[in-house]
């Protein structure tokens, strides 16, 4: 690197990423770049596991419930917010009250996760009360299976009431939490700087003095900056560059545990995709292996279900559709399309962790389909238009994907394929009553084994009906300088940096 670290010791981590955050109040946004920062500024009552989505203690050191309706949380003691105020049960209550008193526009995620706001029928939370300084009791109106996982999501981080009481807009520019780092400076579209919080309650942490999140919209530019030594850690590495990084003695390649799925959605309301045979034919026609080899550089697993294997409820018994153009042709003939048909194939215009290069994958799919006589025209829109149009059911077949938020099966299957989500995340307009009932049951089923059964059943239906061609569960790549240690990438994409240091 030409301009090494002038003066500053290796106490500063520069983290290169694809875009800027939009807010530093995690409860107000749904967007991953924000959480990447806030996970280091705030903490949640419960945490996910280091590299999975199991429930671990967070600001609450213990919790329990008897009936799945009343939850008691014992809070850590001696925790302080960055502004010097104390973290206690009252603060927790105030945070929940703030959310519950908001609206969908302010706290969109709260609604998705807890069904609604204070006065809404659907609102799951009955009450949040303090029992002394360090105990919080949350009562639910009805059981919610993934409740604890929801609590552990980054957006439900506990912020300093004194800070957010100054006004929401003021607060999201001046975040105050209990996390290992505190906020320093934000240069819009450029960088966010956070520094070590000296009074952090976990002794010895964080190890770094300072972290700078720097935006490089272009993947190659980001990698270049890493090679040049301008940054220490780069998110969003093209799979194509993986080999190069591995060959570079100064760098290390880091794989993020996969918790995503990339798929080709088939809009079941649009002929010929209203025919199951056609959808199955598509599944047979696409050569996932080549796709994965060429454009995930092998750093992905071929997908057969709409959710990754790491999530409990994954049905491994399902037999993947093999690559078999002949069979596909047969099915097409059966469906009444012996000579194939013409269709639009929507290609993602932007790279996403689950789909590093949509356009190129589309090209492979296009040539695969050509083999079974299907003429696909590749179509692309800008991302917002793409989503908007796809959600309106305007695409024949579209590429998309999903990264799990909380590691729950519900967060994949129900959100992406249930009829309730037609018009939002169920872009295929797929509808199946049996499956719908399975999902609803699962949402309130507290017994984990029973839930798993329900989801496995649902996956069978999905496999048979084939509204998707599941493509891959990719392993998103990061790269770092060789001397960086203690970095543990999280499947959700929000990485806690308190253990990171330079050797």
């Amino acid at each position: 690197g030409g301009n090494g670290s002038s003066g500053s010791t290796k106490d500063t981590l520069v983290f290169g990423r694809g875009g800027d955050s939009t807010s530093l109040d995690p409860s107000r946004v749904t967007e991953g770049e924000t959480f990447k920062v806030t996970v280091n500024l705030y903490e949640t009552l419960l945490n996910f596991g280091e590299q999975d989505t199991t429930i671990q203690p967070g600001l609450a050191k213990e919790w329990n419930t008897d009936d799945g309706l009343t939850y008691t949380f014992k809070l850590q003691e001696g925790v302080k917010f960055h502004d010097g105020t104390d973290f206690n049960s009252e603060a927790v209550v105030k945070n929940f009250e703030r959310w519950a008193n908001g609206d969908a526009d302010k706290f969109p995620y709260y609604k998705s996760m807890f069904g609604g706001f204070k006065d809404d029928e659907e609102h799951v939370i009955e009450s949040v009360t303090a029992d002394g300084d360090h105990t919080v009791i949350i009562k639910l109106k009805r059981p919610q299976a993934p409740f604890l996982k929801n609590i552990a999501m980054s957006m439900f981080a506990i912020a300093s009431p004194t800070a957010f009481e100054k006004g929401d807009d003021q607060f999201e520019r001046n975040p105050v939490g209990t996390g290992p780092f505190k906020f320093v400076e934000w240069k819009a579209n450029d960088s966010i700087t956070i520094e070590k919080f000296d009074e952090y309650w976990q002794k010895g942490l964080p190890k770094l003095d300072k972290v700078i999140f720097r935006s490089y919209p272009d993947n190659s530019a980001r990698l270049n900056a890493l090679i040049a030594g301008e940054i220490d850690l780069a998110d969003g590495i093209n799979p194509a560059d993986g080999e190069k990084i591995e060959g570079n003695a100064d760098l290390q390649l880091i794989e993020r545990p996969s918790m995503n799925v990339g798929y080709l959605g088939l809009t079941v309301t649009r002929p010929p995709f209203d025919k199951k045979e056609v959808r199955q034919a598509m599944n047979y026609a696409i050569d996932k292996k080549t796709i994965i080899e060429s454009f995930f550089e092998g750093r992905a697993n071929s997908a057969k279900n709409p959710m990754p294997p790491s999530i409990s409820g994954y049905n491994d018994d399902i037999e993947e559709y093999e690559y078999n153009p002949e069979k596909a042709k047969e099915l097409l003939a059966k469906a009444g399309y012996p000579d194939g048909f013409e269709m639009e194939l929507w290609a993602m215009p932007v790279p996403r962790p689950y789909m590093p290069d949509g356009a190129k994958v589309a090209e492979v799919i296009q040539s695969n389909l050509a083999e079974i006589g299907v003429k696909a025209k590749i179509v692309s829109f800008e991302w917002p238009t793409y989503l908007d149009k796809a959600s309106k059911g305007e695409a024949d077949a579209f590429m998309l994907g999903w990264t799990g938020d909380n590691g729950d099966a519900d967060n994949f299957l129900y959100v992406l394929l249930d009829e309730d989500n037609i018009g939002s995340n169920n872009y295929t307009y797929f509808k199946n009553d049996e499956m719908h009932n399975l999902f609803i049951d699962a949402q309130t089923e507290v017994d984990e084994d029973k839930r798993i059964e329900l989801y496995k059943k649902a996956q069978e239906i999905i496999h048979e009906e084939a509204p998707w061609v599941p493509l891959a569960h990719s392993t998103p790549l990061l790269a770092a300088t060789k001397d960086l240690t203690g970095f543990v990438p999280h499947p959700t994409g929000s990485d806690l940096l308190s253990n990171v240091e330079f050797k």
């Binding site: 190659s220 093209n238 080549t290 190129k360 179509v379 829109f381 800008e382």
Partner: protein, 298 residues
């Protein structure tokens, strides 16, 4: 009267240069300029590529050969292969067709629309002029690439829409050019002469004003093809222009950005093609300017 032969000081035949029309004259001037001819040769080369190339390189523009991904230039693949294992040379040859058609078509569209508006504004003047000129002002006040991006955003990404956007952003340039040309030619003495023989306005417009404003339009048009190709490539580069698997050069560049270090040929050749073609048009435009319209400046 026909037997009238004034005592005339006869004209020696040899004194009148025996050359032909202004166009032929321009061509002679043009030929004299080495740079201009070089430009024309470059363009011809790419035009021939565009026309016949697809027959030569019939095979494999979209033929994916996963086994041959990212091969460096070799005897088999003269310019190497891209990340699909496609032959870059074939794709560049096909790309010539795209870039040239975008360049020509968009410029023709803007010339037609711009000329129409420019003539209306320049010849009829008054409020039509005011309105049209204001619209041109407004359009020109936007940085052109931003305007193009916005238009493509409205229409949706794609080669056709990029073409339309480029055509639109160039309209005011031609409109203004024609307008000013019409205004200045309107004052020329031969227009006065045409009026003096009792010619009607419409005839003056079509027989005198239009043909005389064509030279700068041709020059400007040639240069505009150059810019249009660059703009199309820029839009392609931003992912707003040509879509996969069209072998548009700007898009090829964007697609190969990440192989800058590992497979530089994937991006060097498309970039070079853009530059050469554009250079060709710029050279030729310069030559045409000198030949057709020496007074016209940059």
């Amino acid at each position: 009267m026909s037997e009238f032969t004034p005592k005339m000081d006869g004209i020696v035949e040899a004194e009148i240069e025996r050359t032909t029309g202004p166009w032929r004259e321009a061509w002679r001037n043009f030929r004299k300029s080495k740079v201009a001819v070089a430009g024309m040769v470059i363009i011809l080369f790419f035009v021939l590529l565009a026309i016949f190339g697809p027959f030569i390189a019939k095979e494999g523009i979209n033929q994916q050969m996963p086994a041959d991904r990212l091969q460096p230039p070799s005897a088999e693949y003269w310019l190497g292969t891209d990340d699909f294992g496609r032959d870059i040379l074939s794709r560049i040859i096909h790309g010539a067709r795209i870039s040239l058609s975008v360049g020509f078509l968009s410029v023709i569209a803007s010339v037609v629309v711009g000329s129409f508006l420019g003539i209306v504004a320049g010849y009829y003047g008054r409020w039509t002029d005011t309105i049209i000129s204001r619209i041109f002002d407004i359009m020109l006040a936007f940085p052109s690439i931003l305007l193009a991006i916005a238009i493509v955003s409205v229409l949706g990404p794609g080669l056709e829409n990029a073409l339309i956007a480029i055509a639109i952003i160039n309209v005011p340039n031609f409109g203004r050019l024609i307008r000013s040309k019409v205004l200045s030619i309107k004052e020329d003495e031969y227009i006065m002469a045409a009026k003096a023989i009792g010619m009607k306005d419409a005839r003056i417009l079509f027989s005198h004003i239009l043909p005389n404003s064509m030279a700068p339009v041709i020059v400007q048009g040639t240069l505009a093809v150059a810019t249009a190709i660059l703009e199309a490539a820029a839009l392609g580069f931003l992912g707003l222009g040509a879509q996969a698997p069209q072998p548009e050069w700007g898009k090829m560049l964007a697609d190969s950005k990440s192989y800058l270090q590992s497979a530089p040929w994937t991006m060097i050749f498309p970039g070079l093609s853009i530059m050469l073609t554009v250079l060709g048009f710029n050279l030729m435009g310069d030559g045409l300017r000198d030949a057709l319209d020496p007074k016209m400046k940059n």
